[in-house]
Symmetry: D2
Subunit: 292 residues, 4 copies
């Protein structure tokens, strides 16, 4: 079990009379991620609605802000209970055994045009033995070929671009890996979160994007950016790709400042709470059971 | 109420030892579309699984076929109960009033890159009064600028392509209209179906693709191809775009022949069953209630 | 006649042992643009080659710099002799009358995929009477639909992107206008230069990109960015699109600082030298004669 | 020396009152390709203009046809004098030694977006020793990864598409190889021609597209499609990519039938004329001298 405490500070200037916002910045509640406590502060006196989306399980904060400054502070402490499995015990599932709820994650999506990469993926990975090791090989392939460079991509950048340009940020690595998996008929999805323990090459703590692949009995975590520690991931939102899990969506004219993100991990031997660390085991925090 | 009877014949040659298929060819069951009877015949003796996907309500037929010929015949009779509303009574909903279940249909998807068209859509439609009439104007805009031409597009063609190339088939018209709506923050989705009463310019009866836009109190039907009769639509699948509602997905080497599709409508004055016809009213067959 | 004096300061840090450069920063010499004087200073003692490319007439400065700082200062004074023509006297040429040398400017190029925009261009401009006024209408169309925003595009941005995204800098405006002209079988090309008299909305003086269209008897200047004064343009390079006229191409690892550009105009009534000003006449500085 | 005799039959129905055509179907005349005789027949009595484009050396046949049937037959006999060189003697030229006339073939073009593939090309080929062998390796790489499949691509398909989709026809193979070469700062261009001796997998004799790369002292021929015999190539047109060498460009409404192409080779020991055959030597038919 890992205990993560994080804090997000957002600041906007609303330029219109009012502006609707939808945030996906609340820690997800899942069978493996328990919220110990959370706190939300908003400078404007306004009605907020917090909803959990039925399909994605994402928690959406919806509000309509008034003109002027809007600041939002959210902090939470979560316990993440990782299931660790030796990689060689994890199979890919044949199509016939995939749960129906998982099938949409075989489909192409905005940033993951897996329909176009079938020949490509077969050429590169078709000869490998199906299983966790093959997916790990895809993860490594992406990591080795794409360079991490802030500002090298933008909100329109898709996996096709990253495959060609070979440069991007964590969301681009994630999109390319997801696309290659789907092109091989392996369900894969996008997770937004905050990560503890990342390589300082990432810069200051920030939102992170990583990948979950459905194998054998659940969703397994992969980090194609290669700079983070999967056991240090705190889940915010889950979706087909980045289009589904923007941490903030604004419907109006707004000036935004860079979000401030902080995260820390806390050990507590008495409660069997350990620090996030690199592991040779496969890491899963979602068996997919809430979807049945 | 409209009564539609249709028949689909599919024929494949499976080239591998086995091949998994997922079909979305069963008539959808909704509050407004009742299945009177249906019949499925498959030439191979095999186990089929028919599942209704929780989120989309699509009915998926899953099976693993053996090498050789696979033929599937499906026929059904459905009653479609249209809600007809004068267009001038239908508002666009402000963001704050959109049901959570509808929010994913604001997101960009594989064939509908609405993130890129915001300036474009504002320039063309931003000055129009929000409401059904504005959406109808978007529908007309697409219809007037894009030419219907079979084979002019392919499975990779997206709304960006159609916006530029200005030629396509019904799915391309639908993708472009959906993209423009989402770019204006109006939820829109893709429906696959079979249509009765289409202009013979479409050729023989075939699968059709059309659009639903969420306004006021439900999903309203639009046909940007302009050649069909919305009251003659029978719903198969609903999704973000064509990536979600392929009528057949094969996971292996297969030769396919063109599907054969037939549809007829049946009048029955005694039961208040009428023939599909063009109407000046807005047509809806999904208030979205099953999603709550 | 207009007299323009300009100055370019470039500064690089060469990170490899040596690095080849090709610059297209010398004022072009044409029948209508006379170089009164020019001056080049380079901080490193090295061999430079100055060549005029036979086809494009562009003047290329080639050199191999050593590791470390490389600074280049170039200044020139040019006289530009504009041919001004009332727009209503300028016809589009039928294909059969186009000089052979002009035909490549009908072809699609890297940033100008005119092969894809034929239906689009016909829909928007096909009904207009051929001639200068139609081309001016294309220029206005681009100007009205695309917003000028620095950093909104990058070196990969093509006319297709600008058509969709509707935002960019002067080179993007130029690419879109060129593409629309070629799609209508009107030869169009890209010019890089420096402009005097631009709207301060452009920021400090900088390199500029504009369009030349072949009509009746020569290449006519258009400025789809709408913020500059065509009579204040000083020509550096001419090509199919921006791929042909980069002001600097480096073949190695280099850090570059922003180029510093200055330009001034000088009146001299005695010599009939006037200040650049907006005019209702069509402006041409290249009858295309050097190409015969 | 090789002697090739070929014949092209074209047939169109002009639907407008008149229609301009530009053909690039005449055998090129170069220092290494001599036209022994040629013959042109057109069914309509009309004025034709045959021009050699100064830059490309391509021979353009221009004409304006009347409404109705237009048939054109062109046949020619050419002698091609190949320069054969052992590959290990052929160096890549450093940038500083490239002739100015060759520099445009480093630029990105419509179908060859080499600006985007620099990281990609460096990753795959940057570690290889520069020279003919590295270019041959690029040629093999393309051949091994892309499948030949008629109709799998269309007139909009670019090297980016082929890199991703991994399927195409000879022009797509050529575009991808050209793009990879340019991304490594190796000048490369597109040649259209007719080929004798191709693998029947290509089907009947047809127009062919191949690549020339500028090395050491001239343009060397490569055939990334891998199915043809470079010594059997007869050159029609040379350009940056397919946009420059369409064998027929129509400016109006036309119905076209498939072109009929025939080619044969003729041995004549007395005159040292041999049959085209596969060779381990590098093949060149253009030292680039006409460009000085």
């Amino acid at each position: 079990m890992v205990k993560l405490e994080f804090h997000i500070d957002l600041s906007y200037t609303v330029l219109d009379a009012t502006c609707d916002f939808i945030f996906n910045m609340h820690a997800a509640q899942t069978a493996h991620q328990h919220i110990v406590e959370e706190n939300l502060q908003i400078n404007q006196p306004l009605i907020t609605v917090l909803q959990t989306h039925r399909e994605s399980n994402n928690r959406l904060l919806r509000l309509q802000a008034q003109s002027g400054l809007l600041t939002i502070s959210y902090s939470a402490t979560v316990l993440v209970d990782h299931r660790l499995t030796p990689p060689d015990q994890i199979r890919e599932l044949p199509i016939a055994q995939l749960p129906t709820s998982v099938l949409p994650y075989l489909n192409a999506s905005r940033y993951c045009q897996s329909d176009r990469l079938q020949k490509f993926a077969l050429f590169e990975f078709g000869h490998l033995k199906p299983g966790y090791a093959r997916v790990a090989e895809i993860c490594n392939w992406v990591q080795n070929r794409v360079s991490f460079r802030p500002q090298a991509s933008n909100v329109n950048t898709s996996a096709m671009d990253t495959l060609v340009d070979r440069v991007g940020v964590c969301r681009d690595f994630a999109h390319l890996m997801i696309t290659l998996c789907r092109a091989l008929s392996i369900p894969a999805r996008f997770v937004s979160g905050i990560d503890y323990g990342a390589d300082p090459a990432f810069g200051a703590p920030d939102f992170h994007a990583y990948v979950e692949v459905y194998l054998q009995d659940g969703w397994y975590i992969f980090d194609p950016s290669g700079l983070a520690v999967p056991m240090g991931f705190m889940r915010l939102g889950t979706g087909r790709d980045a289009a589904d899990v923007a941490f903030a969506t604004m419907f109006g004219a707004v000036q935004a400042t860079m979000p401030m993100v902080q995260i820390s991990a806390h050990e507590d031997a008495a409660q069997q709470i350990i620090m996030p660390h690199h592991t040779g085991d496969a890491v899963s925090t979602d068996p997919g059971t809430y979807e049945i």
